[in-house]
Amino acid sequence: MNIGTVIQSGIKEIGAHWFRSALTMFGVICGVASLVTMASFVKGKENLLRESLAQTGGLEKITLESEDDLPDYQKHLEGEAKGVTLKDVYALQNGAPLVHTVTPIVNKRYPRVSRRGKGTRVSSLLGTWPSAVELLEHEIEHGRMFNMMEDHLGNNVCVIGTEVRNSLFGEYDEQGQPINPVGEKILINYLPFTIVGMFKEYMSDEDRKKKNEAIARGETISRRNPFSRFRGGDRNARRTQYIYYQKNSTVMVPLNTLVSKLDSSYETGSAMDRKLSEVTMKIHDVSLMSPSLQQVRNVVMRTHKGLEDFEFETQEEFADDINLAIHNERVSGMFIAGICLLVGGIGIVNIMLSSISERVREIGIRKSIGATTLDIFTQIITESVVLAMAGGILGLIVSPILVNTLAGFAEDTTPPVMTSMAMMVAFGFSVLTGSLAGLFPAIKAAKLDPIQALRYD
């Protein structure tokens, strides 16, 4: 018996009881739609979290920080502890080939930045080297990064993020063009600085899309860009929004300038011995994380003469957090979708069983004219699979509507991302449900004794 004929008659059988079939399909539709919806939201979240990991330097970034609390056996040497210094930076540049872009950073919290009496506090002011641009995944939109010469001379130059520009200059000029603040003077903690560069505006693809649409509609004259603001919504979404906001609020000045002119807490003395907030670097190969950390540790132990007044921070924890969050959401989503499909499957079993008991005579007739057990089995299982597949297709049609509706209801959650992979998997599950659900009725039908079936009056 050829499979085309079987599928055709399966479709006909379903069509003959279309209302009953539609009710039966409902469970599968729900299952497939919820699977796709769940996967889309989780994928959206995952993309955003991974994006924010990349925005903060990626997994390759490792940070060496000063640690005031020494291990117990070194407590008596606390007076000797100088923390992380430029000595470490030079030592690492020469002695740790597994890392690159070793960059010193002094982080000054909540400095006041102002211009013509209009001021704001940015979350952090970084005194660093030009390599910080590459290290912290920045891109210059206007002007340039300061250079090592300016660091050497301790010049009052700075590079700012777009949020700082927005606060001090506004985002757009009277013509609706974005303002380029390069060359302007601002005050940082009441000291004049010249802006030599501005970073590009960082935001998620989704926000960029929304913003471009808003611009296309002509809504350009807003003092602040509402899309890069840190908004409500779920925890992970907030976290990501916050990362963009923070990145856009950056102010960078040369390390030397910050240390010598802006930070009163720094004692005089050898520049080499000045305590840094952190030394940040990248490793060449993420798979060599632990040997790289070991190498850095060996080098730093030598410059610190064995004093453990430093510690490492990697982004692995963040990455683990991401994986765990995604895993948890996936499991709970799969659970719900699985239950829907189970209910759908039971519906199919039910309808197929009642269908074959209505068709005992038909099965007997088919057997009497030469249908084999396998033919009958194939017929019933095909009907069941066709039913489930129809449900699956309808589910796939419904799911974008469901995803968009839900995304509309919860404006502040991460935007869902529908993938063809998720749709294929969901459809595959519907087919699987259909085959499993059809199994028992098909075996039952195939086993029917033709004589009994024909006697059935």
Binding site: M1, E362, G364, S368, I369, I451
Partner: protein
């Protein structure tokens, strides 16, 4: 060689501790081209015998050889193929599939034997022409009279050109004129060289066939075979009395 060779067939059913001997030692040979009727009162085992002959049912003991094949050794799959290719059934209640058209019903045996769409259509129309139903090919069984339904069923039984056609009370649900026409159709088929077996409780119907086998309580009680010297009068007597007592 006989087309069908039945040797000491027994079929017993067990119903709540009671043993029912539906067939109790039947031995029978059927030659190609024969026109036979199985006659006997209701419950005598006629249908059971026909089911076993038609490879729909298997005996409790005894052997059946069809066209040289020992049916005892055949797998369920082989039995299905035998039913499909070598046997045609016609039933009292027509047993057409109500959702299919007349032509699709007739095509059904070829669906399982794997003929192409075109061949199926052509052969179905040929078979319908044989029973004068070609102009009704697009109708559904519910739109047909009993006689037309039975003719469709005959076309379906013929379509794979079987070695033997079994008809279980084929006129049982028809008025006498229509029944007469159906019987004439079987007669014509037999004259064209086919082997036909009628199963009936009605001696008038059995009278159509040259060879008659009477079953009582699962045994062959009497047999008229034109090949042998027969005693027709006694047979007629017995069965007409019997016929009055059966519904």
């Amino acid at each position: 060689m006989a087309l069908l060779e039945l040797r000491d067939i027994h079929k017993t059913y067990h119903l709540g501790g009671e043993t029912i001997r539906a067939l109790d030692g039947v031995t029978l040979d059927i030659d190609p081209g024969e026109f036979i009727s199985i006659i006997g009162p209701s419950g005598s085992g006629k249908s059971t015998l026909m089911h076993i002959l038609g490879c729909l049912d298997s005996p409790t003991s005894g052997t059946l050889k069809l066209d040289g094949t020992m049916i005892h050794d055949a797998s369920a799959r082989q039995l299905a193929t035998i039913r499909n290719k070598k046997i045609g059934f016609v039933f009292q209640f027509f047993n057409l599939l109500p959702k299919l058209t007349v032509r699709q019903n007739v095509e059904l045996p070829m669906v399982y034997s794997g003929a192409s769409n075109k061949e199926r259509r052509e052969r179905a129309m040929d078979a319908l022409r044989l029973v004068n139903m070609e102009d009704r090919s697009k109708h559904r069984p519910s739109q047909l009279s009993g006689g037309q339904q039975q003719r469709t069923a005959i076309a379906r039984a013929l379509v794979n050109d079987p070695r033997i056609i079994f008809a279980d009370e084929p006129t049982g649900n028809l008025d006498s004129n229509t029944g007469e026409m159906i019987l004439q159709m079987f007669d014509k088929l037999q004259q064209e060289g086919r082997t036909v077996m009628l199963v009936t409780h009605d001696p008038e119907i059995a009278a159509v066939t040259p060879r008659r086998i009477e079953i009582r309580d699962g045994k062959i009680a009497n047999e008229i075979d034109p090949k042998l010297a027969g005693d027709a009068p006694r047979f007629e007597q017995v069965s007409s009395r019997e016929a009055e007592t059966t519904p």
